[in-house]
Symmetry: C2
Subunit: 138 residues, 2 copies
Amino acid sequence: MLSKKTKYGIKALAYIARKKDRKPVQTSEISESENISQKFLESILLELRKSGFLGSKKGKGGGYYLIKEPEEIKMTAVIRVLEGPIAMVPCVSLNYYEKCDDCPDENTCAVHKLMIQVRDASLNILGENTLRDIATSQ
Amino acid sequence: MLSKKTKYGIKALAYIARKKDRKPVQTSEISESENISQKFLESILLELRKSGFLGSKKGKGGGYYLIKEPEEIKMTAVIRVLEGPIAMVPCVSLNYYEKCDDCPDENTCAVHKLMIQVRDASLNILGENTLRDIATSQ
DNA sequence: CTATTACCCTATCGGTTTACTAGGTTTTAG
DNA sequence: CTAAAACCTAGTAAACCGATAGGGTAATAG
């Protein structure tokens, strides 16, 4: 299940991407338009700035803006930063790998191979969708 | 992320499916072989019995056995019972649909269409894999 | 210069879920 | 009878989630 944090983060990024100009967008504007608690949204946008997706401008007329072009931002990258692993099980995660303590051998694990297939299918979709795709999909 | 419960449940089903005869398998045997806490496993197998995947026999020599053939059991069905929805967001779930309270219109939601694609990709994999496939995949 | 705007930071908190444990009851084979 | 096994009810410690509180700090318009 996707957390609200991730969901809100994606929506906010899409909102900013839909703006024609590159002027900073205020959190208050996004929170009102997308029905997201402003304080909660602030913490999410802050995280997106620290991880290199957004830039920010302080003071009057400030806000957040995209650093890269929307088509350069893959959804895999966004989800990995906000949500963490895309895989359903740590032992098949590419970026957040962890060994299962109950499995002596991953190659003989019934769950392992199945979850690799699911992971690859998800990675395919999320890797070929960019912020541009989801921002313009209305 | 898949819960331990679901993971253990799948492993247990696979273990039972690998047995040639149809004699009941005890929880103690499965828990030792698969490194699962026995008490926790008990509750999982009980749930799998109540949802129609397993039969049980009480008393000495009792245990759990498959009711259907392994190739008749799709992994979608197992996961839906143990884990719940397969979709990453309730608003795209086929079996556990729920409306988002922040979305006025699903058709204009940036997250919605993306998550439908992910769901369909996952459903494809999990729907074409049966218990037979994952039990014999070593 | 000063008021305002809006980003930035820390801390906390109630609620839910997760993974598991404890302890007992019922049923059955031998 | 008795040992073994499923069955049932509760409880619980820890983690996580979504949000809120309350400010601090930097930049800018006028």
